[in-house]
Point group: C2
Chain length 337, copies 2
């Protein structure tokens, strides 16, 4: 059963449990602080495929197969697959899922897609529509750069506020269950647009959306940052992180000690020339499906908020002078005994 708690938050009364998870990453990610956490690394950006787009679909398949294997389930057990990515028409997802005989529901929340997928799959399980559901998302530096910015061969200079799209995929398999890492609450965000038009500063565009959703969650659940072991955001980077901390203080919440941003965790900004940090659907997803869930499984963390933010921008809209609409979805994960 699912109950509404406050105005925006839902409570999964019997929390769906994460049975399996897996993350695949690229070479640059393997050289970062979390390199040892990823269970599979592709040192070739094409992952043996003819194009980067096909490689990204391959990343998704691998991540899903890892999550599935760990879950002990088979593809025919999966009632729904919630998948999404950054590419036009979500081609990484539809081409990766084409080879599986699984009902498919494409999700688009830009970099918030992993949180959105967790929410949709938990809703489907806890509401009775599914027994087992899967989520997969991905991003790839080379596919994203040429779609959103410039052909890589052009060698455009990146601004200091720009983030580096992570080449990675993360996947989870969830089911009804009583023990393990449970999805206990969720808050779906509204679209927030504070008028930022600089597509090289997505952190600043997304931070107000994260702020809006996190504050709603705290108020709906009458909790505060101290109630959680960690509060993770997906990929605000350094600029967005600074903005978020400042905004949270205006509501009296100091999250600076407990907050970590996956975009800052995945790369070493001193050594890796990624400017403001990592970004992309695959950033939050791959950090969640390696470091975070592993730390929860190993008892290091037991009560965690995961907020993934998405900049819902498009090059077409940007060229037409539009600002960047952003969204943030929150998932509360806790160990169920």
């Amino acid at each position: 059963m699912i109950k509404r708690t406050g105005s925006y938050t839902i409570k999964f009364c019997e929390p769906p449990v994460i049975l399996g998870y897996g993350a695949v990453a690229g070479k640059k990610e393997s050289e970062g602080p979390l390199g040892k956490c990823f269970r599979k690394i592709y040192y070739d950006s094409r992952a043996g495929q003819k194009t980067w787009e096909k490689a990204e679909a391959r990343f998704q398949q691998d991540a899903f197969m890892m999550a599935l294997e760990k879950s002990g389930k088979r593809t025919e057990d999966i009632d729904y697959m919630f998948a999404g990515d950054l590419l036009n028409q979500l081609i990484s997802s539809s081409y990766s899922m084409r080879s599986f005989d699984i009902p498919y529901l494409g999700q688009y929340g830009a970099c918030s897609t992993m949180a959105q997928g967790l929410i949709m799959s938990s809703m489907s399980i806890c509401g009775g529509a599914a027994k087992v559901a899967g989520v997969v998302t991905s991003s790839h530096f080379c596919t994203a750069e040429r779609q959103y910015r410039y052909p890589l061969e052009y060698g455009g200079i990146r601004t200091q506020t720009a983030q580096w799209t992570v080449t990675a995929s993360g996947s989870v398999v969830l089911a009804n269950g009583s023990k393990g890492i449970g999805v206990r609450h969720a808050t779906v965000g509204k679209i927030v647009d504070k008028g930022v038009t600089d597509i090289n500063n997505m952190g600043a565009a997304m931070a107000p959306a994260a702020f809006d959703t996190i504050v709603k969650f705290f108020k709906d659940t009458a909790t505060s940052p101290d109630d959680y072991d960690r509060i993770y955001t997906g990929d605000l980077g350094q600029v967005g992180t600074d903005v978020l901390h400042e905004l949270m203080m205006t509501e009296g919440y100091d999250i600076s000690n407990v907050h970590r941003d996956c975009g800052l965790m995945i790369f070493d900004r001193e050594k890796q020339d990624v400017h403001a940090g990592g970004s992309g659907c695959g950033c939050g997803a791959s950090v969640l499906c390696s470091k975070i869930l592993s730390d929860m499984e190993n008892g290091k963390l037991s009560n965690v908020l995961f907020i993934a933010t998405g900049a819902l921008m498009s090059p077409t809209a940007n060229q037409q002078g539009e600002s960047i609409p952003s969204v943030a979805h929150l998932v509360h994960l806790s160990i169920e005994n």
Copy 2:
């Protein structure tokens, strides 16, 4: 409560009810057989906006406001908005929903998005996550042509199998209820790809997906075409319709009498030069939210299947030699007393 029926179908035990619906269409659609069914027509393809993309967002806002007004609900009553369209990064949806303070979940199923949205909103309501939810989708001939095919100014010649993207939007508002048009069953489709690579023949690519989903539904519910007043598909057009009828016969189902395709209903193929028929997210959505739901409300129809199909193709994937992955989602609507 939601119960699984057979291997792929779900039953909404207390069917969510469609409280309001609305459709907005363009000039060409107003000149077709359903012209009088649309409650609002824009004779200007830019709908008073500076660009076609902004116009498409405006279409969505208008359709949603109509559905909301008819539902008797206010924006603050809507717990979730499930929205999607054909444009890269779903900009019609994110820009249309930016002005509302409603939690937003972007859905991408190409032309299947209205059925997907109905399923997701019904799941959220029947599972307890939402009391009231909305769905909106749209398409626009001018935005779709320049994104998927050629700049309109180029004047490319269209093949006879090509379909004409409908300029329209449809929206529904659903809630818990005991009387009215209820969402009783749903079947989420898997990705089906029979190797069609011709992006000017989407009907042929999508028909096998519709076939797969409809047959699963009939088997799961132990029903047959005769049990329904009408079986509507979203936008198979003439080519896809012929293929679907033939495929259904291979399983012993003759749907030729009871089946109608929204892509064939919305235009007069003799007079309107649309070749194989209409297509686009806005096609099935606007026909559903005008003619079909109105006929149900007026007692002409009481038991209807609505199957929206999506060709999940992308110009990038097509240029890389990929075939067109397709998907079809089914919704069973019935009058609840």
